[in-house]
Each structure stands twice: as C-alpha cells, then as structure tokens.
Symmetry: C2
Subunit: 207 residues, 2 copies
DNA sequence: CTCAAAAAATGAACACGTTCAATATTTTTT
DNA sequence: AAAAAATATTGAACGTGTTCATTTTTTGAG
C-alpha cells in the first residue's frame, strides 16, 4: 500500500495549515512563531519548511480562497440585469468589501499586500498579482456589460475606466486595512462617493 | 563650548544617513546590513539605533525629501494656465513619475510602501500616509483650478474625481515599482490612457 | 523477510534586526 | 579643577525566520 506516505503528507499539510490560520487569527501574523505553528501541528520546524516555502506562503492559501469566492460572486452580479451604472458598481464593489474579512483579518491582508509589494519576484507575489488582475478585469467586464445594454455611453473605453475604478477600489482597500477603526460601511460610502461623478458622466441620458 | 556634543551628533547623523543611502543604492535595502552601515559610518551598531529608530526609518528621510520636492513642482504646474484637462493631468502626473527615481530606487520604494502597509501605527507609516494625502489633495487642487477656469464642468465633484485619479496614479506606481522591466514612459502612457475617458467626459464643451 | 535506496523529519546552527546593561565622554556644579 | 550629573557609545546577547547535515521512516526489489 503505497498510499501511506501520501496520506500522511496530506494530513500534515492540513494540520499545518489549520494550525497556522488558527494562530494567525488568534495572536496575529507577526506573533505566530513558526515554532508554535509547528508544535500545534505536531511536527518539527524543519518539517514546516518541508511543506511550505516560508511563513508568507501560508497566507496565500487563504487569500486565494477568499478571492476565488468573491470572483464567483462577482460573475453572478455581472450576469444580472442592471439599469443604472452607480448602483451596479456599488453592488459589485460592495460584494468585494463585504466578503473581504471572511477568512482574513485586516492584519493578514496587510501582511499579504506588504509581502506582494516587497518581493515581487516570489511565487507569492505573482499569485497575488494574478488574483488582483482578475478582479480588475471583472470590473472592466461589468462596465462592458453595462455598455452592451446601452446604459453606458458607447464611446467610453471600458477597460480604461474599469482599471481606473478598480485601482481606486484597491487603494481604498489598502487604506481600510491600514486603519483598524474604519468599518466596511464607511469604506463603501467613500468609494461610492468617488465613483459617482464618473458613473453619472459615463451614463447614457445624463449629461 | 557646549556645541561639541551637538556638532558631533549632527556629524554622525549625516555620516550614518550617507552610509545608509549609499549602501541601499549599491547593494539594495535588504542586503545592506545595519552592521555594514554602522561600520561605513564609523560608529557601532548601538549608536546607529541611537540615531534612528530602526532600519526602515532611514528610508523616510529620503522618501520625504523626494515627495516634498515633487509637491513644490506640482504647485508650480497648477499655477500655470491650462486649456485642456488631459494634458494638464498628464503634466502633473508625469512630474510625479519623472521625479520618483531621483533619490529612491524601485526597491527602496517597494520597501517603503511595504513598511507603511505592514505597520500602519508606526511613525514611519503615519508620515508616509501624510505625504500620500498631500499628493492626493494636490490632484484635487488641479481639478478645482481647472473648474474655476471653466475647463471642467461645474457640476463635477472635484475632490471625488481627484481622489479617484490619484488612487489610480498611486496603484499604477505600485505596479511600476513591482516590475523592474517597466519604464517611466510605459507607466505614463498607461495612466494617460486610463485618465482619458474621465478627462474628456468631465471637460466642458465635449460631450 | 531483508535490505538498500528513496523520501521525509528533525533540531541545532545560522543570519540579521534589535535591545540593553555596562562603560566612556561631555557638561554642569561647586 | 574635581566631583557629580547628564548624555552618548558600545558590543554582546536575544528573538525569530530559515537552512542543512544527520537520522528516521517508508518503499519495493530480490
């Protein structure tokens, strides 16, 4: 039975991941020492590094799950009928923000973003950046869908506006995770206010 | 002569700062060890920490100088006459980008941004964020100036649009410093493309 | 079943940012 | 000018992420 080794491996992988996410949420990313994670998972420090490239890589599993779910939810929103630009945008962006703290704490987001900027050549950063681009593309897709339904002016460059809006969404999210006192509703309100002029200018009918 | 101590202090401060920036640019931020910086400055490691709170704080002096200069240049641009939105925006943003690598390398920017996100409660992060806000406000000021000259539609919310545009500028700058192969001209072209629809929609006269 | 080769686990050792008790220097007081 | 107080310097020691030579476990062929 050659499955013994494979099963042990899968089991340890799961135990380490569980221990890490538990500790990250309980004591924070920085204070969760590899030694503690390894002990809680019932393995040695060396084994931890056998399963994960480094401490930061542990986060990516969680970030990835988070973003994949929100992308799926976003597709469902785009598929629906919308008759105004601003509410459609608010719904998609609101979904991003509402979902954001499901698996990750603000501190975990900060760490993930920080790592992806600090070491852009690592697999971690490349995966993070790829997820970001898929989100950006989704906002572009929404604008394009609205344009095809005749809600957005036909001369508007959907990709240009979509990227612009998403970059704002992203930057505001950075401000959000940097400020422990800021809540999701405040964030959504700020972004809605920023989007409004662009949304109304690009709408058909309004002038 | 009570100036002996003060003069020594100023001298050491300068020597440490010089050594650090030299090494950061020569071998990169991560590879520049405190021990090396201290040795090059002719002081002990302990003394380094007497003058600077930590390694990251060394960067802030440089970042601060960089941004202060660009803010001054930006004010001069805003004061000038403009008759179109897009070129005015491009000029201000182009100045930001052109100036950005004067004192800091891409790696130093990445480190600074990364630190400011990872530890938002530190003085480092607070200073960085404050500089960011002043830049954001400057973009708002430009839009407002254009509006007062009758170039931007009167119903446009200048702060909303300004923040949106600046957040895009900022996010694109993050992409820029994450990619060693991207040059300033490519960056400027991308941002100009993103700005164009908004610039033309908000212009008086165009529809 | 035995045993050699492959795979996995281990924890001591290392690197580097940071701290701090001890020491040295400068300034002030008398 | 001597002593006391204030300030500055020092480098060994510490904490924590990461590496790697060694040991243990698993596998499959003979």
């Amino acid at each position: 039975m050659s499955g013994l080794r494979a099963q042990k491996k899968a089991d340890k992988n799961r135990r380490i991941l569980e221990a890490a996410t538990t500790l990250f949420r309980k004591v924070g990313y920085d204070s969760a020492r590899i030694e503690d994670i390894a002990e809680m998972a019932g393995v040695s420090v060396g084994t931890f590094y056998n399963y994960f490239k480094n401490k930061g890589d542990m986060l990516m599993a969680t970030v990835s799950m988070e973003v994949e779910e929100v992308l799926a939810a976003g597709d469902a929103i785009i598929a629906r009928d919308h008759d105004e630009v601003a509410p459609a945008l608010s719904e998609l962006i609101g979904k991003y923000y509402d979902h954001s703290l499901t698996y990750l704490s603000k501190e975990m987001w900060r760490t993930a973003m920080s790592l992806s900027i600090a070491q852009p050549e690592t697999p971690f950063s490349k995966r993070y950046t790829a997820l970001d681009h898929r989100l950006s593309k989704q906002v572009c897709d929404l604008i394009r869908a609205l344009q095809q339904r005749g809600i957005v002016r036909s001369e508007v460059d959907c990709d240009a506006v979509g990227e612009l809006l998403f970059n704002n969404v992203n930057m505001m999210f950075i401000e959000f995770v940097k400020d422990e006192d800021m809540d999701v509703n405040g964030l959504k309100a700020s972004v809605a206010k920023q989007n409004l002029p662009v949304a109304s200018l690009m709408s058909v009918g309004a002038d």
